[in-house]
């Protein structure tokens, strides 16, 4: 039976994170997920709204929850970690019982794990990945976060389900520099460079992320980030949904892999 979700793409998914949206839609087709895009969704306000203008944060949150309700009594699902955090906050402020889910949680639900396992046609056997959570997937802590705030396993479990091996990655919960990308790229490069260099040094063939801002800081900014920490080489950065898509036998173009700045080699079976 198909699972219906009210889909909140978020602004990045129309721009720099376009392939996240593409890969979410592509795997949804294979996993019998019906995505109803929320009509006239607005920007979640991201970090800047709550940072300097709480009224803007609240206004956008109320608007988005109202629009989501138009999809009926189904959970809201988003791929963006920041949208996820803002929607959770809006729900808490509204005292609403609307379920807000991140795509990783949807994939991690017991029934979906079974569906996923059954749909794998190209297991990623032998592929070593570093799973990166960053800040807002597991924080703020709470039963509605995707997993435990300090010791999450969800991304590693999902990678394992696809046949891949998740390496130990102590920086997996450390922020990439997030929204400082435009104003203080130097800080973002130092933060992201450290992550990339560690993943690489520990033998990961790819970094797996579930946030468009993480992806931009780690993929688009990778050359500068590596330079900032004196590291060399490159490491591809995949969205969780692209990793899933590869295991499901989808083609690189269907998953938007050609949009990356760091090439994704065929090592992951594409």
């Amino acid at each position: 039976m198909s699972t219906r979700l009210a889909y909140f793409p978020g602004c990045s998914q129309h721009g720099t994170g376009r392939e996240f949206d593409e890969s979410i839609r592509a795997i949804a087709g294979r996993l019998d997920l019906q995505l109803d895009e929320i009509p006239e969704w607005a920007c979640c306000g991201a970090t800047p709204a709550h940072a300097i203008d709480p009224a803007a944060d609240r206004a956008l949150g109320r608007w988005n929850l109202g629009q989501a309700a138009k999809c009926g009594d189904v959970p809201v699902m988003t791929g963006c970690a920041s949208c996820f955090a803002r929607l959770r906050s809006a729900r808490a402020h509204a005292g609403s019982d609307q379920r807000i889910l991140h795509i990783a949680q949807v994939l991690g639900e017991p029934a979906m794990r079974e569906r996923l396992k059954a749909a794998v046609v190209r297991p990623l056997t032998g592929v070593k990945v570093a799973c990166y959570y960053g800040c807002l997937l597991t924080r703020p802590a709470g039963p509605d976060a995707i997993d435990d705030a300090e010791n999450p396993r969800l991304l590693e479990d999902l990678a394992g389900l696809l046949g891949a091996t998740a390496i130990d990655f102590p920086l997996r919960l450390d922020c990439c520099g997030a929204s400082l990308a435009l104003a203080r790229p130097d800080i973002v490069h130092r933060r992201s460079g450290r992550l990339l260099a560690m993943a690489q040094a520990r033998g990961a063939q790819a970094l797996v992320v579930a946030c468009p801002l993480c992806h931009s800081n780690l993929d688009f900014q990778q050359v500068a980030a590596m330079q900032a920490v004196g590291a060399q080489g490159e490491i591809p950065v995949l969205y969780l949904t692209q990793l899933v898509g590869l295991a499901l036998g989808l083609e690189a173009r269907q998953l938007g892999l050609q949009r990356h700045f760091v090439d994704v080699p065929a090592l992951v079976g594409a």
Binding site: C11, S12, H14, G15, T16, R18, E40, W41, A42, C43, G45, A46, T47, P48, A49, H50, A51, I52, D53, P54, A55, A56, R58, A59, L60, R62, W63, Q67, G134, C135, L136, R139, P140, A141, A149, E150, L173, D174, C175, G177, A178, S179, L180, L182, A183, R184, P185, I187, R190, R191, F220, Q258, R259, H260, F261
Partner: protein
Amino acid sequence: MSHTPPAGATAASPLHERIAAASGENPARCYQCGRCSAGCPVADEGDCQPHQVLRLVQLDDEAALHALQPWLCVSCNTCATRCPQQVDLSAIMDALRVEAIERGTAPAAAREVVAFNQVFVERVAARGRLNEGELGAHFNLRVHAPFKNLTALPGMLVRGKMRPPGGSIAGAVEAMRTRKEPQQP
């Protein structure tokens, strides 16, 4: 940590009361263990450590409103997750930024971060959604650096990651226009 903020903090109230009222947090709970700073990804990038910002608030030292550190805070929430006293320092950082803007005390070193935040909110208020290209262009104009980050543009265009803004979301623009401005402390 939910608690009842001191009711009726005014512009003349001591700093800790104003921040408590705006953030819903109680700065007095902090016993300066430094756990927040230990996990903070930007603790070593600014002019003081996050727990020191909180100490300034406890001391009613208005220097907290002039500090760079709150502007480097990326709201990653690590501090709040780990605080043994359940103080949400990220919410206190929000309150400090809001008041620093209201009082015009944000330091010169934070100019670009302030501009980014303001331009972001303005763009969302204008369209209801954010177009990253527009954000970049307006940010550059605001900080008088028209060519900043411009070398990134061709790569973005080739990959289809930079597209012209679509229309506006009228309802969201209206919701933003009629939003209640943050209450003056």
